[in-house]
Amino acid sequence: MEFKDYYKIMGVEKDASQDEIKRAYKKLARKYHPDVSKEADAEERFKEVGEAYEALKDPEKRAAYDRLGANWKAGQDFNPPPDWDAGFEFNGGGFTGGDAADFSDFFESLFGHGFGSAQARRPRGGFNARGNDHHAKVLINLEDAYHGASRSITLQTPQLDNSGHVINKQRTLNVKIPRGVKQGQRIRLSGQGSPGMGQAPAGDLYLEIEFNPHSIYKIDGHDVYLDLPVTPWEAALGATLKVPTPDGTVDLKIAAGTTSGRKHRLKARGIPGNPPGDLYVVPQITLPPADSDTAKALYHKMEQELAYNPRKKLGV
């Protein structure tokens, strides 16, 4: 397990006051809040900051953490020394709203676990209570939106065991991804959330669709874009080209005198739906390298025989 430097995560000195720590936390929480932040690793950082604050805001936990010594470096392999917490009792000095179930092994090895979870997922009261809804993201490929697919999804569900402790139970579901789904769209699976209490029904499971970034296609709603490299002679003379689409290869005719960036719309070949999206093929003219005598000779010949000045309009 890796040692975590909570002071470094919070960006404060080791002798920072509780007020400074609180201010640093508030600032970082706003900066990395996954709903607000545009940072790529916002969610990870937000959890990390929440965990660091959990350890440092409570003077007792902080003191115990400090006693581990200043010699540890972040990322170092770490096991808590025996009796390191002698004299402390961490009976839950008030947890922030952060989801304690997400705290690291490092945190749990120091302060135990099961603290905030009960608070974070408080039961909805009464004997007959509908189970909580669950929310998860499911990553699919663009091709799955064209053809439909099934995905197996593993969910962690916190549950109370017989002795009343919170344990994470794993559950795997096979879910059909229908064709035509869009980025950000949700699928609702009735009754696949938490079990209800008493006679009440189970909650629902909401899956949010997210596309894996694609190596060649870009996606905009239902529309799909493809950059298609073409040679100068294909662009100049016109040609019929083989073009990949998520639905298989098609032939595309490009006109003589095609310029880079001129969009060719393949109607209804975007993500299926009602109406379906379009596929836009965007030719990009690429130059063959002048890396042999033959190639150089050909370029020289063009230079001499074509008398082409692309900067004519610039008056030079």
Binding site: R30, D35, F46, G97, V175, K176, K218, D220
Partner: protein, 109 residues
Amino acid sequence: MTQKILNGIVLDEQTELTLNDLCCACSSSAEWIIELVEEGALEPVNLKLLGQQQTQWRFSVNALQRARTAMRLQRDLGINLAGIALTLDLLDEINTLEARLRRIEIKQA
């Protein structure tokens, strides 16, 4: 082990959610959702019809996303309702602008 493949319902632009759906999806009370509506942070799709005849509120799928974001903003950052409403509007605006930017970038690439 072979497992049954579950079929869900795709929530599209036509899908409408009830007040109860939103409460369950956010693990929140109906009162809290009502406060969000009163603050203008959420708007039922049939708000205008309600004056004419008494019907239940219906929400778009977009409201689900907004309500859940609102829930996290309040829980994680301690923002009050007015602040939540403002944040949601600004986030919407940023999303719209970013989508426009992406479209322009795709066209110019």
